[in-house]
Symmetry: C2
Subunit: 101 residues, 2 copies
């Protein structure tokens, strides 16, 4: 679990899950094949009334690897007009606390 | 990694990390000791200018266990006036996609 964590929180209107997953899947396929990618989990809220209905959490070897992956090809995919419907809050994080029961 | 995931995104003003971690730690100590708690990771943004500066991601055996843990004692701690400074967006999530490189 060493490295850095990229977290992206998405607002997805109820009933638009399929359109979101189609767009997200395009970028995800690309990201999973980039150098430094470790793992990712896409989370979907149980309650459809919450604001942040999807949260993607992904491990990378380093911030530099994640930054490099979010380059020209990423920006091309992310600039598709369909994304305007799904506001996102992406950021890189370090793991501050990590415990198991 | 079976079960359910509780994610809470926090807004924490720059320079108020210590006060946040003090309050968060009180609730975290309690949560980590509750039945059904599996694991949790607290993430802190590398860039202090992002809105969601802290993201807590925690695994629970079930939604019922998480709900039960967020009962009276949780509400007592969470109602402390200090929390007004740190808006939070908590929700329960299922894992929709899970892959490793």
């Amino acid at each position: 679990m060493a490295g850095i964590v990229f977290i992206n929180c998405f607002e997805v209107p109820v009933g638009r899950d399929e359109a979101f997953l189609e767009l997200w899947g395009q970028i995800d396929d690309f990201m999973c094949a980039q150098p430094g990618f470790q793992w990712r989990r896409l989370h979907r809220s149980l309650d459809s009334r919450v604001k942040l209905r999807y949260v993607n959490v992904a491990g990378w070897d380093s911030a530099a690897d994640s930054d490099k992956a979010h380059g020209e090809e990423f920006r091309r995919m992310q600039s598709q007009p369909g994304w305007l419907e799904f506001p996102a809050q992406p950021a890189l994080y370090s793991v501050e606390r990590d415990d198991r029961a």
